[in-house]
């Protein structure tokens, strides 16, 4: 009898251990957006690597599946990665977990060292300017037209910065990380001539968005959230960001903004 009880006990312990170490597999759809996500970069780019570390810390196997953005938006039963603003009009998510927050900046080109830095404090300061933006990113063209602002659109971010260098546009509006990444890639010897003006208070998150019908979605949400907290606390998060942007510090403002988006999309729920 004792032997039988010991055997049952052993089996229960083994099963509990197996349950704990079982990897859950989650597929997240993303689209090519270097340096945030790219199949050609180690660990899928900067945010891809943060997700890899979160997954490791939370014992989840995460697969990033690349798709064109239009297909990601059209599919209303998938898990998505990106700025929730692009997706929440078309899909109800069970949970939205912001991973990083980015700012947008105005970039301009000037090789005149004596020229004062330009200030942009209102749309009035942009009157008569030509601004380069990525095709599809403009929400209200008529509004800007009435303000006397001209937009030049392009299918690729690299082409926008080439136009800026050739002074075919006065400014390019771009996500600060992306702008830096492209300037370093295309114009490493001229990078100091590219100046940027951060648009204050205009920040957006990149988040994991989990579908309503994802299996075990509440457990996965909890694990991802805990994993993110763990890697922020143990410095892994800072280390990954610094791999791509050596001077970027994870300040209290960074974390405050991250927390703001965490609350904004889930307010009223127990997080």
């Amino acid at each position: 009898m004792r032997k039988l009880l010991a055997l049952i006990g052993f089996i229960i312990v083994c099963n509990l251990h197996a349950l704990e170490s079982t990897d859950m597999t989650v597929v997240l759809d993303a689209n090519e957006a270097p340096p945030f996500f790219s199949a050609s970069m180690p660990h899928d780019g900067m945010v891809g690597e943060i997700i890899y570390e979160i997954s490791k810390a939370s014992n989840i196997k995460t697969i990033i599946n690349y798709k064109p953005l239009s297909r990601m938006i059209e599919d209303d039963s998938n898990n998505d990665l990106g700025n929730p603003a692009f997706f929440i009009n078309n899909q109800d998510f069970n949970s939205i977990i912001p991973i990083i927050v980015y700012h947008m900046s105005f970039y301009y080109y000037s090789n005149d060292k004596n020229k004062k830095h330009i200030k942009i404090e209102s749309l009035h300061d942009l009157k008569g300017s030509k601004i380069g933006v990525l095709k599809g990113s403009l929400i209200n063209l008529l509004f800007f037209k009435n303000q006397g602002i001209v937009f030049v659109t392009s299918y690729s971010q690299e082409s926008l910065f080439k136009k800026l260098r050739l002074k075919r546009v006065d400014y390019v509006i771009e996500v600060e990380f992306v702008g830096e990444f492209i300037i370093n890639k295309l114009f490493p010897s001229q990078k100091d001539n590219f100046k940027s003006i951060k648009i204050q208070s205009n920040h957006n998150p990149i988040a994991i968005m989990l579908a309503e019908d994802e299996k075990d979605v509440d457990i996965i949400t909890k694990k991802y959230r805990e994993g993110l907290e763990k890697i922020i606390e143990n410095g892994t998060y800072q280390r990954v960001i610094n791999k791509y942007f050596p001077e970027q510090e994870i300040t209290s403002d960074w974390l405050k903004n991250l927390n703001k988006f965490k609350e904004l999309y889930n307010f009223g729920e127990e997080l």
């Binding site: 993303a30 689209n31 090519e32 957006a33 945030f36 996500f37 945010v47 953005l69 239009s70 990601m72 938006i73 209303d76 990665l81 990106g82 700025n83 603003a85 692009f86 997706f87 929440i88 009009n89 078309n90 899909q91 109800d92 980015y102 947008m104 942009i120 404090e121 209102s122 749309l123 933006v133 990525l134 095709k135 599809g136 990113s137 403009l138 929400i139 209200n140 509004f143 800007f144 299918y155 690729s156 971010q157 509006i173 771009e174 996500v175 992306v178 648009i199 204050q200 208070s201 205009n202 957006n204 990149i206 703001k260 609350e263 904004l264 999309y265 889930n266 307010f267 009223g268 729920e269």
Partner: protein, 277 residues
């Protein structure tokens, strides 16, 4: 034109209208934050929406009413009710507007509210899945056992009392859930139902139908937060400006862009006139 060419052209149109990256910038009228009085509004086309000209009928009415009093406002349209809650609780927002945005008991603050439009709502179902399933006799008990697609923030106690299951959703998802059969009926303003069917479900809009006898009236309001230092002043300015535009014809001319039936426009005007007394 071959089928392939047609498909390719459709693909090009889609490509041209969809942003290329889910992490790219979104450039809207709020690109550079201003010191204007910010009002947070919950998306519900055609009343409030970034997909409708001038932010929708009610965004235009509010902006025009304030401009009568030389006040500038910025209306920020958000997709989730949780975002409206966040701005009230965490940022002490000056004002919010929309359908089901405020249940007074949820907040420690007090609001002064004005109806902007009296919406006629009706239950809607998807005929191919529910033709013989729904027999509404004017009482909720006749819908027992079905699943109701409710809006976030909607008071659903009466449904639960009658053993009607409730699933909360955003408006576009409600229509998708009707088609999938994960909800059996929904309730939205008739103007919104027509907008969604024309804009998003034009191919099978005939399969969605209103449930006879389920009409009810629900005002869509703007709420000014009296805990915000500017709340009282802006509420008074709005009331004055709103009254002016109901007298000088501007309110009617905005309504007429969306409602072609003159008697419906007149009854809206009468309702607003009474509510402002």
């Amino acid at each position: 034109m071959t089928k392939f060419t047609l498909k390719f052209l459709v693909f090009l149109v889609v490509l041209a209208t969809v942003p290329l990256m889910a992490t790219g910038p979104r450039i809207s009228a709020h690109l550079i934050p201003t010191n204007k009085n910010e009002i947070f509004a919950l998306d519900m086309p055609p009343f409030i929406s970034t997909e409708v000209n001038r932010g929708g009928m009610l965004s235009e009415i509010v902006t025009v009413a304030f401009s009568e009093e030389k006040k500038e406002v910025a209306i920020t349209i958000v997709p989730l009710r949780s975002m409206i809650k966040y701005y009230i609780v965490q940022e002490n927002a000056l004002a919010v507007m929309g359908r089901h945005v405020v249940l007074e008991k949820e907040y420690k603050t007090t609001f002064v509210s004005f109806p902007l439009y009296l919406a006629s709502e009706s239950y809607v179902y998807y005929k191919p899945l529910n033709e013989n399933k729904i027999h509404y006799n004017g009482k909720l008990s006749s819908l027992q056992g079905l699943t109701y697609g409710a809006s976030s923030g909607e008071d659903v106690k009466a449904y639960k009392k009658e053993s009607i299951k409730v699933k909360q959703s955003r408006a576009l998802s409600m229509f998708k859930k009707l088609k999938k059969g994960s909800v059996d009926f929904i309730s939205l303003p008739k103007e919104s139902v027509k907008w969604f069917l024309n804009e998003k479900f034009s191919d099978d809009k005939k399969d969605f139908t209103f449930i006879d006898g389920s009409d009810k009236l629900n005002p869509i309001k703007i709420y000014f937060n009296l805990s915000n230092a500017k709340g009282k002043e802006l509420a008074a300015a709005f009331k004055k400006g709103f009254r002016k535009i109901t007298k000088n014809g501007k309110y009617i001319s905005i309504l007429e862009k969306y409602e072609k039936n003159p008697s419906k426009v007149k009854s809206q005007l009468n309702y607003i006139d009474k509510s402002l007394k």
